[in-house]
């Protein structure tokens, strides 16, 4: 494999990039960019691609309501949601050394969902709907803390984290159902649509708010992400390399929660993206964590953008939640992974 090495002459800064990675990144950018333009063009009101370009660059102002007010925020949000779900899954899979881990399996997404459902049932009318994302993020963090505390036994091991996470996830899902049954029909319908994961009605302030949330965990990934490569070699080797394993686990679990919780907060329970995106990215560029982050983000963005495009344009005039389609591809993908892993 060919590599490109970057070094400052004083030796203070040095990196190595594989050419394959650069190439794949370029292709991913092009593919996501194309889908971005297509998503702005396709819908109940078809807008020619040339017009989309002209609209975005400000030369014409003919379709500004459809392109800039309705579609642009929705597509951007789908991108951010997909990217953060992908990264959340990537972090978890590395952290617990299990390729089948993802935030929706170990209960982080369920925690966020419960937070949101409680907010929809008890909070609406009292507090503005603007605070729904906050309720979901708090729910996700609470779930993660609970899992972490129950798993604690002189430190936390990956397998305990996963098993207890699955248990907590089941309890949380049961509570969600419980509260849904208790609530009024109108509220239930609203909560259900949210739970399946929909990008309907996204606006620019959502996009901005979500971007700000994502700024919190990004520096952590950039600075300490390398240690997740070593984490794959096991606890003993990690300690031997000078990594504080318990601190690393807590830090990255929280990172993953912020990514997954934010995504759930703005787009509901879109499932399986956190599982699929890292796998596809690994097939493309291999195992190095830092290299995987941007590729996984782009793959995740692609999946959610595509799911949302299909969901809102294939069954016109219905606007189906995007989560239906990620689950439709994701569930068979999960079974395929289980099948592949059966001999290991």
């Amino acid at each position: 494999m060919k590599h490109w090495t970057f070094r400052l002459s004083n030796g203070k800064v040095s990196f190595q990039l594989s050419l394959r990675w650069l190439l794949i990144m370029l292709v991913c950018f092009l593919v996501v960019g194309t889908l971005f333009i297509l998503s702005l063009s396709i819908g109940s009101n078809w807008i020619p691609i040339v017009d989309v370009f002209l609209e975005l660059t400000g030369y014409i102002d003919q379709h500004s309501y459809v392109v800039e007010t309705l579609r642009l925020p929705r597509v951007l949000l789908a991108m951010l949601v997909g990217a953060s779900l992908g990264i959340a899954g990537l972090i978890l899979q590395n952290l617990v050394r299990n390729p089948l881990a993802s935030p929706d399996i170990i209960g982080i997404t369920s925690g966020a969902s419960l937070g949101a459902v409680l907010f929809i049932i008890f909070g609406t009318g009292i507090v503005s709907m603007k605070f729904l994302p906050l309720a979901a993020i708090v729910g996700g963090i609470c779930a993660a803390m609970l899992i972490y505390i129950i798993s604690w036994n002189n430190g936390v091991t990956p397998i305990r984290l996963v098993l207890i996470g699955i248990g907590i996830s089941a309890i949380l899902k049961a509570s969600i159902t419980f509260f849904l049954v208790l609530s009024e029909t109108a509220t239930t319908t609203k909560a259900y649509i949210w739970l399946t994961g929909s990008l309907y009605g996204a606006n620019m302030s959502d996009v901005l708010a979500m971007s700000l949330w994502l700024l919190i965990p990004l520096p952590v990934l950039l600075i300490w992400g390398r240690s997740l490569n070593v984490a794959e070699l096991g606890d003993d080797i990690s300690i031997s390399m000078g990594i504080n394993v318990q601190r690393q686990r807590l830090l990255f679990l929280m990172c993953s929660v912020v990514f997954a919780g934010t995504a759930a907060a703005f787009a509901g329970g879109i499932e399986f993206v956190g599982l699929m995106a890292p796998h596809i990215a690994r097939r493309l560029v291999g195992k190095s964590f830092i290299g995987l982050v941007p590729v996984t983000a782009l793959v995740g963005a692609f999946i959610v953008m595509l799911a949302d495009l299909i969901a809102r344009s294939l069954f016109l005039p219905l606007d189906i939640p995007a989560g239906v389609f990620t689950a439709a591809i994701g569930a068979p993908f999960f079974i395929y992974l289980l099948f592949q892993n059966r001999h290991r």
Partner: protein, 264 residues
Amino acid sequence: MLGLQTKNLSLQYGDYSVIQDLSFQIPAGKITVLVGANGSGKSTLLRSLARLLKPQTGDVLIDEQKLQSLSSKEIAQQLAILPQGPLAPEGITVQQLVKQGRYPHQRWFQQWSEKDEDLVERAIAATQLQLHKDRAVDSLSGGQRQRAWIAMTLAQETPILLLDEPTTYLDMTHQIEVLDFLFELNRTEQRTIVMVLHDLNLACRYADHLVAIHHQTVAVQGPPENIVTVEMVQEVFGMEVAVSEDPFFGTPLCIPKGKGRYIK
């Protein structure tokens, strides 16, 4: 060079005491081999020397500084441990594995310096894995795999190297190959090597300093030719042996009694 030592070290697994009140010193720049019966605590002791296990009481010292007073990263530049039977992630290549050894010397903006590149290449060359460096570790033979892991610890560039049974699961040829390599490494670069070995005869051949663990402490230590006797083996291993001389090296050779076929 002061190297590693323990002071009043006690180790426990749950309620079970493994090592009690042990104070001893690992000679710097030499090969030290820990031996003992199964469950005697030799691996536990090795793990505690590398801070993988916290002492119940007492301390492990490196150059007269307590391990607890140093940051984990500082220790990582002083000593590396290769645990028993490490598992490589699926599909990782030899070179990628060896590169990980540079972790304690890197920073997030300084990930691939010339020194990194040079040391990784040297570690791969030293373990004779140049031809296999782009192969997946899980596709290698047992001996090659073990050498890949050793190469990773070499790339960590530490003066002290701890290895927990580096020859487990290897056939005779590969055992000698790994041990010869470690011997060469010690003789050419004076790195301190501490390892746990099961085979007492190989231990006698390669060790400058032999440490026998028994009754939760160091029962006896010293150059193998001075300490390995019929009585010592009886005491430490509970085995009746005859002690002879290795026909190649003159080091002690223990021949266990027991049952078997007589042909004379």
